[in-house]
């Protein structure tokens, strides 16, 4: 099962490699990893997507908690949460396909953020599954490049990951 682990970690050099190193050393999967500073500049927030049995996820969270730099973490999959991923897709266009791509982007609530005579760049956010669906709807041969941020997430309601 897919798990989204949200981590508050000391914003220090090497913190990212401690997390990444833990995963490679212990043979865990990382599907995606995003990291950025938070409103508190001493902390970074990481969102890490991984897969594994309950036992493995339990070990992953325990091992992560053991890292001295990790302040706090939650497994978002444990509760109701919102998940968003940013994607930019560069698509080769022709006179005939332009209208179709525009309407497809609008159905998916995407935005066209760059236009040349032969290409569009479509920006889209949403759960990863929605982005997958958009890609599947576009003619594969016309896609020049896909850039995805990997998901980030936040829990619903008053609960939150903070100090």
């Amino acid at each position: 099962m897919k798990h989204i682990i949200s981590i508050l970690i000391e914003n220090e050099s090497g913190a990212l490699s401690r997390v990444a190193g833990l995963f490679s050393a212990r043979g865990y999967n990382i599907e995606s990893l995003t990291v950025a500073p938070t409103e508190d500049p001493s902390l970074s927030r990481m969102t890490l997507v991984t897969r594994g049995s309950e036992d493995i996820i339990e070990q992953i969270t325990k091992q992560l908690n053991k890292l001295i730099d990790v302040v706090k973490l939650i497994d978002l999959a444990d509760a109701v949460h919102i998940e968003r991923e940013l994607m930019m897709v560069k698509i080769k266009t022709t006179e005939q396909s332009r209208e179709e791509i525009r309407s497809l982007a609008s159905i998916f609530r995407g935005k066209i953020i760059d236009v040349t005579t032969t290409t569009y760049v479509v920006e889209m956010t949403g759960p990863s599954s929605k982005l997958d669906a958009f890609i599947a709807s576009v003619d594969g041969g016309s896609i020049i490049e896909v850039v995805r941020s990997g998901p980030t997430g936040i829990s619903r309601g008053e609960q939150g990951l903070h100090l």
Partner: protein
């Protein structure tokens, strides 16, 4: 007090009460060595190889419970220390390793003797620091000692670039009394509800076993463990790392468990209905085949490290906390409880265990004309009255020492259990001897292991750390040979060295006493003679039965109930020849 960076490092060691630093100088730590030269509170032990420094500090830490301190230079100095750091990491030994680093401005430029020490050691330290700012130096040192010695202990590396220790730059020095790391708050006392559940379960047990490990030694909880076991009357087994945490000569002790544990300990584990694991981590050398591990048992697990719980074996009642306070709470509940362990059940359980004991799994041929290594260890035990600190290297000799020297006190048995590092024994013995100059210290080793750090014989002489080296010389890499005999139809691929040095001459060349022992009847007098030479390091090169194997044994991939016992006492040699 205005100090430069080098002085801050040394002064903080003083403020931590550090007695010895084990180290080796080099370019990146010259400022630090100059600061060492100008004081005498912290004594420096110059080893002959950085691996020796880490093992000596490690031995010191294991024997005293205080953190071991190491100082090495950048580059090769740092990488040579890595084996010793990993050794300490696997056995959760508190150490602080200070490594020099090239000056900050040239970090990352492949400078002379530059290596990314923080990167290299990341997977084998509890934590590490690169000091980037002299104003953070004292605080970083404090954090290093705090992290190394609290919770589940472990080695911590402090990498110090040369410019940080520049003698021209001074700042006001104040060593923090305590330090708070917001992301690091190890659990100590354990959950009350779970402790109650554990006690309730223990009191219903019909075939209980106490399985305790190195955590009891590290957590200074031997007294509590002994009281706990005595109150319950349960059989108790120790892991390799836990030996001595419970008196081995006590009747409730059923021996070590695991790959080379006793038949009775492994059978008891296999048949048990309630196991309480105390500061032990279900290592693969203990569990054997996981699918067949303790099939009937509900398991209680006390450990300070939550990640050790249910890592390989699912447990029924996890208790995250330090062993000592948790055992104390359990004892209180046991004293207050009206329910007592079932006398009848325990009697029948002990009856069963006695039958397993009657197999006498540790017997060996006592009539052999060749020196049996087991006999040497038994004699070592008698000559030292069971009071010595015994360090060991890794291999057959290590198992024999663990099996035939019953340790009654914690911190007396000092070996590399987790990483299995050959070369550990001699430098560790030096570290122990420096900590306890009035105690007997012996290093049980083999002709393979001893050659991995033999250069430290020179250190033993320089710092007057007289240790006794018990070299069980079978001119084989014995444990490798044993596995090749069992699993590879005796194809002894590279487990034989036919150019073993003359250890007697070698010991003499290093300024020590060397003795060679060929016959069983020479063993006892030689040991007595060696231990009578209080102020000399003595190298006893004991030529043992070359084909002796470690029994009993759980072969790889088998369960506790599936042990290989000696075919008939003393037939290993016969089998070999046939």
């Amino acid at each position: 007090m205005e100090l430069n960076g080098a002085q801050i490092v040394i002064q903080s060691l003083k403020d931590e009460g550090v007695e010895y630093i084990f180290g080796y100088p080099g370019g990146a730590v010259l400022h630090l060595y100059d600061a060492i030269f100008q004081q005498d509170a912290v004594k420096h032990i110059l080893v002959r190889h950085e691996q020796g420094a880490t093992h000596a500090a490690d031995g010191y830490a294991r024997a005293t419970g205080k953190p071991g301190v190491v100082l090495v230079t950048s580059g090769p100095g740092a990488t040579n220390a890595v084996t010793g750091i990993a050794t300490a990491y696997m056995d959760s030994i508190p150490m602080v390793i200070i490594s020099g680093q090239v000056p900050s401005p040239v970090i990352g430029s492949d400078a002379f003797q530059e290596v990314d020490m923080v990167g290299i050691t990341r997977p084998c330290v509890k934590h590490n620091f690169l000091v980037k700012d002299i104003t953070k130096l004292a605080e970083t040192m404090k954090k290093a000692f705090h992290v190394a010695t609290t919770g589940r202990p472990g080695p911590v590396v402090v990498d110090v670039p040369k410019d940080i220790t520049d003698p021209r730059i001074t700042i006001p020095y104040k060593y923090p009394k305590k330090v708070v790391i917001r992301s690091y708050n190890p659990e100590t006392s354990g959950d009350k509800g779970q402790i109650k559940n554990a006690v309730d379960l223990l009191l219903t047990a019909q075939k209980p076993v106490i399985y305790s490990g190195g955590g009891v030694v590290l957590g200074e909880a031997s007294k509590e463990l002994t009281e706990f076991a005595k109150t319950l009357g349960f059989p108790i087994t120790n892991t390799l790392m836990g030996l001595g945490a419970y008196p081995s000569t006590d009747e409730q002790f059923i021996g070590m468990l695991g790959m080379h544990g006793t038949y009775e300990a492994n059978m008891a584990m296999h048949e048990s209905d309630v196991i309480i694991a105390i500061g032990a981590r279900f290592d693969d050398r203990v569990t054997g085949k996981l699918d067949e591990f303790c099939p009937h048992a509900q398991i209680i697990h006390i450990d300070v490290d939550p990640a050790s719980i249910s890592k390989t074996v699912k447990v029924t009642i996890p208790i995250v906390g330090e062993v000592k306070p948790v055992l104390k709470q359990m004892m209180e509940l046991l004293k207050d409880s009206k329910k007592k362990p079932s006398k009848k059940a325990l009697e029948s359980w002990w009856g069963q265990i006695d039958q397993w004991r009657a197999v006498k799994c540790m017997e060996y041929d006592r009539t052999s004309q060749l020196i049996k290594p087991q006999y040497v260890i038994e004699q070592l035990y008698q000559v030292t009255k069971g009071e010595a600190y015994i360090t060991s290297d890794v291999g057959q000799h290590q198992m024999w020492a663990a099996q035939y020297y019953p340790f009654d006190k914690p911190r007396r048995w000092i070996n590399s259990g987790g990483l299995g590092t050959m070369g550990f024994g001699l430098p560790a013995a030096i570290g122990v001897k420096l900590a306890f100059p009035d105690s007997e210290v012996a290093c049980v080793t083999g002709d393979g292991s001893i050659q991995m750090c033999i250069q430290e014989l020179s250190t033993a002489l320089q710092y007057k750390a007289p240790v006794k080296i018990i070299n069980l010389n079978n001119s084989y890499l014995g444990m490798v040979r044993q596995w090749q005999e069992f699993s590879y139809e005796s194809r002894y691929s590279h487990s034989y060295m036919d150019t073993i040095p003359d250890f007697v001459k070698l010991a003499e060349a290093y300024g020590h006493v060397g003795m060679r022992i060929n016959k069983p009847e020479e063993v006892r007098p030689a040991l007595e003679e060696a231990f009578a030479m209080k102020d000399r390091t003595v190298f006893l090169d004991i030529l043992t039965d070359r084909t002796e194997n470690v029994y009993p044994m759980i072969e790889a991939g088998k369960g506790h109930h599936d042990m290989t016992l000696r075919v008939a006492p003393g037939t290993s040699t016969d089998r070999e020849l046939a």
